[in-house]
Symmetry: C2
Subunit: 149 residues, 2 copies
Amino acid sequence: MIQNLSEHQREDLLEALAQGGQKVTPQREVVYAVLLAKRDHPTVDEVFQRARESMPGLSLATVYNCLETFVGCGLVRQVNHERESTRYCPNLAPHAHFRDESTGRVHDIELPAHVLSTLRSILPNGFETDSIEISFHGHTKNSRTHTSN
Amino acid sequence: MIQNLSEHQREDLLEALAQGGQKVTPQREVVYAVLLAKRDHPTVDEVFQRARESMPGLSLATVYNCLETFVGCGLVRQVNHERESTRYCPNLAPHAHFRDESTGRVHDIELPAHVLSTLRSILPNGFETDSIEISFHGHTKNSRTHTSN
DNA sequence: CTGAGGTTTTGAATCATTCTAAACACCCAC
DNA sequence: GTGGGTGTTTAGAATGATTCAAAACCTCAG
């Protein structure tokens, strides 16, 4: 079962939504709480399943709506991998994604500023970037398990 | 109308397919020729349309099959962008993609070796990469138009 | 209380992609 | 050349994620 949002988290949510002239609703709180509870890059459907545990009447379309809204106000980031269902993670520092082919799990990889600027430097003149996405594919050797966000 | 493959190109095709124990077929030739003719990262459907001009009976499923085969033998690369249709480009040097949000066009960005190694260096221990995908989103200032491959 | 506007719900619709089964085509052994 | 066997192509149905449409809901301003 999903915890409620902390004061602080509800603040973030409210503030972010307010910027786009949108409100906090019970559904949005639940969906946001689900994302914060387990940062394992869930698909829409996974979010839906988890959110339903605390709010049984919730509909799938609403989950799509909420997530889209969150993405719109920069609260959450979309992760697309090949042709699979879109996954979501609560936004934090800039990071790349590592997709483990064997487990299907997605790990976040911290992205130091110098790497970002190196990347930007390879763009020819006239190319203006809004965002850069980097994803690694491979597999993890079980050295230590790595936190997935 | 699509040109036939050059000697050299047919060679490449034959060799690549042979490795997977697969044959050159008229359909595969046409699809491959389409990819080489205009390196603008066409979708399956675009490939289908173009290929049909030289081979009217060609079916969409076959285009899917051919492209999948090519990807399987490393002749061609898939480019996924957000949730849009998959696009294809004939494989060459390692490169990143730049997606112009205003035109929807995809440009290839050359990827120097040092950038690749910088990227690999940010992976924690135990992460083994097979491939890295980098995509920029943004827009292009019309300095000079840039070739799209 | 009344209405306007954004939100949620349900179910239908869309779109890319995959699957299935039947028809083909080619090659090898006889 | 004839009959299989194997891999390929075809057409159309099926799937799955996502989006759309319309009705029901809520909430807040007047």
